[in-house]
Each structure stands twice: as structure tokens, then as C-alpha cells.
Subunit: 333 residues, 4 copies
Amino acid sequence: MRFFSDNAAAAHPAVIEAIARSNRLDTAYDGDAMSQSLDHAFSELFETDVRAFWVLTGTAANCLALAALCPPYGGIICHKDAHIEVDEAGAPGFFADGAKLILVDGPGAKVAPDAVDAAVGAIRKDVHQVQAKALSITNATEYGLNYSASEVAALGETARRHGLAFHLDGARFANVVVSTGASPADLSWRAGVDAMSFGFVKNGGLNAEALILFKPELAEEVAVRRKRAGHLASKGRMFAAQILAMLENDIWLDNARAANAAAQTIAAAAGERLVYPVEANEIFVRTTPEEAAALRDQGFDFYDWGPGEIRLVTSWDQGGEPLDRLAAAIAAL
Amino acid sequence: MRFFSDNAAAAHPAVIEAIARSNRLDTAYDGDAMSQSLDHAFSELFETDVRAFWVLTGTAANCLALAALCPPYGGIICHKDAHIEVDEAGAPGFFADGAKLILVDGPGAKVAPDAVDAAVGAIRKDVHQVQAKALSITNATEYGLNYSASEVAALGETARRHGLAFHLDGARFANVVVSTGASPADLSWRAGVDAMSFGFVKNGGLNAEALILFKPELAEEVAVRRKRAGHLASKGRMFAAQILAMLENDIWLDNARAANAAAQTIAAAAGERLVYPVEANEIFVRTTPEEAAALRDQGFDFYDWGPGEIRLVTSWDQGGEPLDRLAAAIAAL
Amino acid sequence: MRFFSDNAAAAHPAVIEAIARSNRLDTAYDGDAMSQSLDHAFSELFETDVRAFWVLTGTAANCLALAALCPPYGGIICHKDAHIEVDEAGAPGFFADGAKLILVDGPGAKVAPDAVDAAVGAIRKDVHQVQAKALSITNATEYGLNYSASEVAALGETARRHGLAFHLDGARFANVVVSTGASPADLSWRAGVDAMSFGFVKNGGLNAEALILFKPELAEEVAVRRKRAGHLASKGRMFAAQILAMLENDIWLDNARAANAAAQTIAAAAGERLVYPVEANEIFVRTTPEEAAALRDQGFDFYDWGPGEIRLVTSWDQGGEPLDRLAAAIAAL
Amino acid sequence: MRFFSDNAAAAHPAVIEAIARSNRLDTAYDGDAMSQSLDHAFSELFETDVRAFWVLTGTAANCLALAALCPPYGGIICHKDAHIEVDEAGAPGFFADGAKLILVDGPGAKVAPDAVDAAVGAIRKDVHQVQAKALSITNATEYGLNYSASEVAALGETARRHGLAFHLDGARFANVVVSTGASPADLSWRAGVDAMSFGFVKNGGLNAEALILFKPELAEEVAVRRKRAGHLASKGRMFAAQILAMLENDIWLDNARAANAAAQTIAAAAGERLVYPVEANEIFVRTTPEEAAALRDQGFDFYDWGPGEIRLVTSWDQGGEPLDRLAAAIAAL
């Protein structure tokens, strides 16, 4: 029973069916009708005119966006635990040609406006120090916390004040939409976000993420950068089909709701042991090494997360008996 | 009836089935059993110990290899019509951090050993000129010609003599194996090739190419570079499943055989109009603009290729009536 | 008697004196009064508001400019014999993060407007091919030819029409100003040039070149890029002092006049042997290998330049007897 | 009376004289006899076979070395207050094509072996996290502390154990040699250092630093990288002349001795107010804002360094009355 990560789960059957259905001769790259319809689909979803690109991974989506938002000689403010800093193998520096991540701290991997102010304020305004040009946040955060729409807006205002572009890593954006009840628009462009990755893989997709540009004027550059990074697949309709299948009938919302609900089940069982409030689909639980070992002995897989903590992640397809057994096992610790 | 490109064709049904079958919870990235078996599968195929990586595109496969073979300050000798020069949006310069392509000419996009000698000889051996560090060829070439095993070996010897790493763009490698009857080994590492892209997408795959390293010591670096370029998919088993499905039961060979045979059908019809001998699955035919228009009026799609030439490409699934009609139409010009 | 290159000559005594005079405690980097006065000095010279930066080499001046004018994913059209292509070790690809040089041909290393049209026209307007974003010319060219002000203006109009930024490598700009009689303004921004390197080292400077921006809005970025490339010297007043010394009393013009005159002396002696008209301070002379050897036996040093040609370059300090002897020796061939 | 920084001081007269003396026609770039003699001069100094390159700035020296020691996808461990992190405008990321600085902390900007162990230990050994490939320290540190030869050796052993290349920023190396009495060899290669910048500009040079390679096999690559970064000056003899002038008659040691002695004079006056022991030529003094203002009113210039601290830096030429007045003024606070 694996609670390692939501990115290892199976894809939703509708996704596989959509790929199979799309398997016919068509225009190559992103010239097919499905790829061409993404702009429209996401513009509807976001209630504004956006440009949408399929890409293979969140790393690609994030770093293509960052490369378009930050010059090679600029800095990108992000949390020290941000995925782009910790888990993307230096991809921001590769895609953005040497741009530097400027790290801030804050509980639960959340970036606070005054942390941004402090980071900018600490930089001498001369050519010897890398000047901040962008701000990047992750929602939900790497510790499963949400920024509310108003929190994002406060950061957007902060970014605007300092002349920073604003990027959102939305690997688990669906979980936030479901959890906060806020609209995609309120959680993004209305709050000042310029570009975002919109995650599907952790939410029942197979291997397709969307890169959303709220500044359509960036689209030409991003299209070139995607090709230049080897991310323009020949049969791109496979990516578009996945994404459209997830958007249709609100599968992306249903899946996120299921994962969030599963997380709440575990959270309730963990009670006082929770390290952070559970707001999306990640649960961090305080355990002794012996307790962690006992859970593993019962067949549950998960990561240790620093001393005395474990991380559990629920997926769209995790419910029923395994979940109940995990909840019971945790409650029994 | 589309004869634009083999990269727009449908994927072989076995590929879609394999993807569907692989859709289950498994270890993420390339930790699953199928991904882990690629080294073995390709080592068998190549009769030597290789390292194999799935990637999304030929551009990624080529440029990850080139980045591992050529330092940022080096040059890569290739044909002026090579895909890496003409159709990869400058990706070699991106992946290899500014490395430069050094262009040579030659009929049919083939690089001759003496062209390599001349290119190297023209470079002053000082720090002002970019020194050649690698040689890259495409087999089959961008004009559908093959290098025989001995031709590759002659280039391998030339590369060795000049201290150049040797890269092979094998987007249509299957077509060459089928057409020449040479073994994969004789067409690659036995001929001095250090790394190659092994194409599946143009040959019935969906969206998976293989990067093959004949120098296993490069594997660690390439694995990091793949992640850093955003090409390490979460559910990588989807890629491995495609590739394994193609290798099983020799689908990759059957598909290439079918495409090559279709090309020969057209070639026979074109006769004296052929610009190049047809050795793989691309056919370049001399036509007047009026003739090209006439073919299009009959429902055939293809690219114009310079003045007075058209390019036709056959796919694994193109045979039967449309093919016969095209052959007849060309014969009737 | 060395006629290898003007970049090996001694510096003008006024330059050395200026360095010595500037050797005092002052504000570091470019905060000193002399560095700060460069904008004004060059704005006077160019009759418009410019931003001027000292840098160490022409390579740095050219490539910092190109990095500001061309995005990493763009192409820079230049002559196949341009210094940035042939003699800067791939620096454009390094400074501009992988940007590609797109080569055109033309006699005497001159770029013609229709060659630019053809180069742009040959690029498919899609994401697979690198799109041209800048044009770079060298005046005087690598073969000692000048572009007149109207020729530069025609190229500027061509660049504007294609949406290309326009860069000028002015390593021997002084020789052109003297030779054509055109104003610096007419040879640059009035003709559409956006940024240029303004050479001093080949014209009696020690080790200081100027980077001139005709778009002041690029200055902030270029200042950062200069520092990031390790070109912001601590005691930058040394560079500013050199440049100001050259500008004062028109030493830069006198020196160029002397070098050009010396070149004319040799040109007159070479007569029919000249490969190109001599318009600046480089002379290409047809000789047999035996003739070249005979000249060397008489103590003259120079480069062979392809089969049957030698290159002679005159410097600001080359006149008098050695020059007369060389002219006589050539006339006597 | 400026105590801002040693990099703004005048150059030693012998340096200016050497530049003037070297001002004659000679082989360009680094082909002149003086440039060619640097390997020998530094090999003598370091008692082993080294390769030495002149460059314009410490930033260039450091980052050319780092680019040769760390691959683009690697990480460089350094102190969070290191010059390469704080004051080089992201140059390590530029020169090393996206390589990342991995920051550690420690008093006085010193890196301790266990901090390196901890930094390496915190990195998961997978492709998702940037792996450390190099260690960089600054001696004297940015806070004027020295590493003794045995401290460097302990770090060298640590680096070796983790497979890290070892770089030394020696902007104020002369001050350390004088202060510790250790030999250049013991402070560098005998302690495991692979490459270092050897500072002259802060110690009486004009604008020349040396890059020293203790692994001669890196020389070919570094020579190319220097050119590619626009740092191969045409009249490089100017750089070589400066460096040789400083080495002759031990001017580099005398100058460092003078600066260190001046620092001790101030240190003695500051007494309990010192933030760090004064081991080289930087003095950090605790003052109230009012006290700092009072010093400035008396004509002393210096930087504020965080709240309640000022930084004073002494130069080779600072002694006599201004120094005594500063010492008295501090003692009188």
C-alpha cells in the first residue's frame, strides 16, 4: 500500500482512453485540433484570454515559464524548500541560462510578503549583486499547505511593487481549487500571477502538464523555448488528449476531491501528531522511528521526512480499505 | 492521403496496448521494472553492454548525447542539412551550453570522411577558433540515404583520428537496419559510434525515443542532464512500455520494412524523376509546380522541397490503395 | 619588421601617460570621474545621447552587445568571415547563451542587403528553425573594406524591415571614419545601428575598447552583464583614461590616418597584386609561396591568407624606413 | 581618507613603470616573452609545476577556474558570504553554465570541514538534487580571517573524501602568506587545492590577477575559456608585466605586510570593539550610528556593515598620519 507520492499512481482510465482515441494520423507537433483547442479550454477555465502549452513534466513547465519571466542575469525569489530549488536538478539555472534562485524561509514552505520584502531589501542595488526579477511560489506548497486567493493576491501586490514577475508552481493546483473553493482565476491572474504550471500528472494524468501564460505576449517565446528544450513532441495530440480528458466532466476536480478526502481521513486519525494542517493531499505525521517501522511492517510505504516525521501522500485513486487500514494503524500508534 | 511525414502517423496498436497495460501504480520516474529493463534489452540488441534512456523526442535524445560528448566551448561537425542544424531550434547550443555546429556539405546530406578531414584541417589550432570535439551524422540521412556499416566505420576511424566523439542521429535507424541488412552493432559501436538516438516515433511509436550510450561511463551524467532538462517523466513506465512493445516480436523491424517497401513502390513509379536513390522511406521527386499541384488536386499531401522538388515520406501503416493511387498518379505525370 | 597585426603594436605614448596620471586612489570600478565622463564624451562624438562602457577586448564589447540585442534562442546574421564567427572562440554563443550565428557570404567580407533578405527568407517561420533576431557587420571588414554611410544605412533599413537589431563591430571604426570622411553618427545610429564596439586597441590604445549603446535603455542590462562576465575592473579609471586620451586632441583620428596612409603606400607598390581595394589598413596581396618566402627573408613578418595570398596590416606607428623598404620589396617582386 | 576598500587604491609605482616599459611591439595575446614566463615564475613560487594565466578581475579568475572544476549540472559548496555568492553578479552560474552554489554558514565567513560534510550529507544521491562537485573557500575570508595551512589541508582532505574539486579565492592571498608565515605551497596545492585566483589588484597591482592551475591538464581548457569569455587581451604583456613587477623584489609581500601592519594599528585602537580577530587587512568594528557618523565627520570614509558595525580596509599605501589619526579617532570613541 503505497503512500509515497501521487506522481506514481495509475492514470485515470479516461486518460488512457483518450490517448487511444487520439491515435490516428493527424498534423504533427501541436498542429492537431486538440492541441489547438487548449487555449480555448483554459481561457474558459480561467475566465480570461490565456495561452496554454502541453509539456511533459512540471520541471519543464516551471522552468520554461521562469526562463520567459527572468533574464539570465536575474534572480528568482522562492522558498528554500521549493521544488524548483530542491527537486529539479538545477533546471531553473539551465533553462534560464544561469539565473539564480534567491531563497527565503517560512513555515510550511509558504512565502510571506514580508519575506519577499526582506529578500529584496537585502540586495544592494548595484551590479555586483544579482537583482531579483521574479517571484515563484508553489500552491499547494511542498508541505501540503494552501495559499488562499487573498494570500496569493498579497504576494502578487508585493511582486508588482518590486517589479517582479510572478510564477506559480501549480503541481497540485487542483487540490487547492477544491480545498479553498476559490476560482482558478482568483488563485492566479486576478492575484497577479503571470504564468503557471498546471499539474495533471499527480492528479490522475499520465504524462502531461500544462503551462499557462496569462501574458499572451510571452507565447511566441515560450513556443520556441519548448521546441529548443526538446519538449515539442511529434504526436502532441497525445498530450492534449490527456489534458482535455481531465478537464471534461471535471475529472480533475473529482480526482482532487478524492485525494483531499483521503488525506482528511488520515489527518483525522493522526490528530495531534500532525506537523502541519492538512489542506491538500499531503500529510506530515510525527512518529518515532519505531512507529514508522511498525507502519511499514503492516505494509504501508512512505518517505521519512527529517527526524521524527513521515510524509504520506494520497492519490485520486486511494480510498477504501487500504486507506481505512492506514488510518486505523495511525490512530493505533 | 498524407505523405507529409512519418512522425504524424498513428502509433502501432501494440504501443497503445502496452501503454494501457502499464497503467498501474508503480515506482515513479525510471524506477519501474520496465524502465530498468531497457539497458538489458538494448544490450541484447546491440550485442554489447549499453545504457539506454527513454526520452520524449529525438531533439532531446540527440542533444543530451551531444552535451555529454562535446564541451560547451567545442564544435560539432555535422552536415549543413542535418536535423540538429536545421530543425532543432538551436537545441544543440542550448543543451551543450553554447557549443557550435561546424557545417560540412555533401550530396544527399551525407558526410564524407574527407569532408571531416577538410573541416578539421581548416581550423587553426589556437584558442581563437572553436576546435572540433565531436562528429554527428544522421543515418538514414535527411534525404533518405543510408550509410553502410563500412561507411559508418570509415567515419568512426576519421573521428578517432581527430579525437572527435562520434554521435549518430538514428531517427530512422530501423529503416537502415532493414535496408542494409547490417546489424545494429555494425552500424553503431563497432563502427566507432559513442552515443546515438534510436528512433521509434517515426516508426510506429507514440512519443518515446531511446538514447543509447555505448560508453556506459557517460550514463551518470546523462541521467542528471535528462532530469535537468525536464525530461524525466513521473510515470516513465509509459515510455519504457512503448519501446519494449516495439522491440518485442520485431515490430520495429516489421514497421520499417513496411515503410521502406512503400517507398520502393513510389520510387519505381517515379523512375527518372528521383532526386536521390531511395534507400529508406523518403522519396524526393522532381516535379514542375503544375505537376505538384495536380498531385495535390488528387488528394495527396506532401512538402515542396526547394524549387522543382517534392518530398514524400512513407509510414509503417501506409500501403494498400492510397499508396497504389499515389504511385499511379506519379507514374502518370 | 612586423606587419602581422595592428593589435600587437605599441600603445601611443599619450595612452601610457594617461594611465600613469590616473594612478591614484579613486572610487572603484566605474565610479571614478573619468569613467563617468565617457557617456558625455561619446555623446558629443556621436551627436546623440549614448551610453558608453569600457571593456577589455573587442570580443567582450561585441558579445556583450549581442547578448543584449539577441535572445538566447535567436540567430545573428553575419558574414561567414566575420570576426565573431571566426576568431572569438564561440564567444557569441557563450555570452548570448546559445544564440546562433547565421552565416552569409559576400566579397571582401561585406554583407549586402540582399544577402540579408535571402538569409531571412530561407528561414521557415516556425519554431523548428532558429529565427534571425539581429544583424552584425564589421566596418572596416575583415578584408579591409569599408561600408560607406549609405551602405550602412541600407543595411539598417534592411534590418528594420526584418525586425532585426543591428550591431556593428567597429574594431577598425576609426580607419573608416578617416577613410570615408563620414561622421561617426552617419556611420552608426543615423544608419540604424543599435550598438557597436568602438575599437582603440588596434589604433594605439593599450587594452581598452568601448561599447557604445545607441539605445540607452539597454545600459542597465549591459552594466550587469559586464560585471557578470568578469569585465568590471576594480580600477576602471585605467580604461577610461586610455579612451579619453585617445579621444583628446583627435589622437584616434591621427593614428588611423597614419595607418591608412601606410597601407596606401603598400597598396601603391602592390598594384595589380591587390586582392581587394585598400580602404583601411589591411592589404591582401597575391604572391607565390616563393615570393612570400623572399619577403620573409628580408625580415618582413606577416600572415599567409589562404593559398597565394598574404595579409599585411599597418599600424598607427608604422611609417618611415621599414614601410618604404616593404613597399620597395613588394614592388620588386 | 578612504578606508573603503583596498581595490580602489593606487597601483604601486613599479607596476606603472613595468607597464610603460612593456609598451613596445610584441607578439599579441599571450605570446610575448613576459606572458610566457608566468608559468615559470609561479612554478618557482609554488615549488611545483603550475600553469598561470593573467586575467582582468578576480571574478574572471574565480569563475574560469570554477567552470573548469565543476560541470554545468554540478554544485559548488561555498560560504554564504563568499564573494562568488555575494559580489560577482551570478558570474559562477554564467561561466559554469548554470552550476549552482550550495551555501554553508560559519563564523567569519570560514567554511569548516564538518559544514562541508553536513552539506554533502544533506543532498540525496539521486538525479533530482544537484550533487556537489566542488568546494570553494576564500583565504583571507571576506571578514579578514585566515585559514592556516593545516586548516586548508583539513578542507582539502574533506574535499577529496567527497570527490570535490577544491578552489581557492585568493584575492588577499598575499596577506595570508605574510600573516601566517606559511608557504604559498602549503596554503594551496600541498593542502589539496586544485586551482586558485592569486590577487594582485587589492595589493598594489593595477588591473591584473593570476589564475593558477595546480592541475596542468586543465590548462588547455582554461585557455580556451579565457578567450571565449573575452578575457584574452591583445596586448597581454601589460598584464604579465604588472604581475612580474609585483613578484620581483617581493613587492607583493612588502605591500601585504604594510597593509596588515596598518590593520593591526587600527585593531589595537579598536580593542574590545573588534567583531573578529584582525588577521589580514580588514577590520570590523562595533560602533553606534552616532560614532560612525562622528568618524565620517572627521573625514574617514568606510562602509557600514550591518547594524552596529563598520568595515575598514587598509591598503599597501596606507600608513603615516591618516592612519594614526584614524587609530586615535577610534580609540577616542
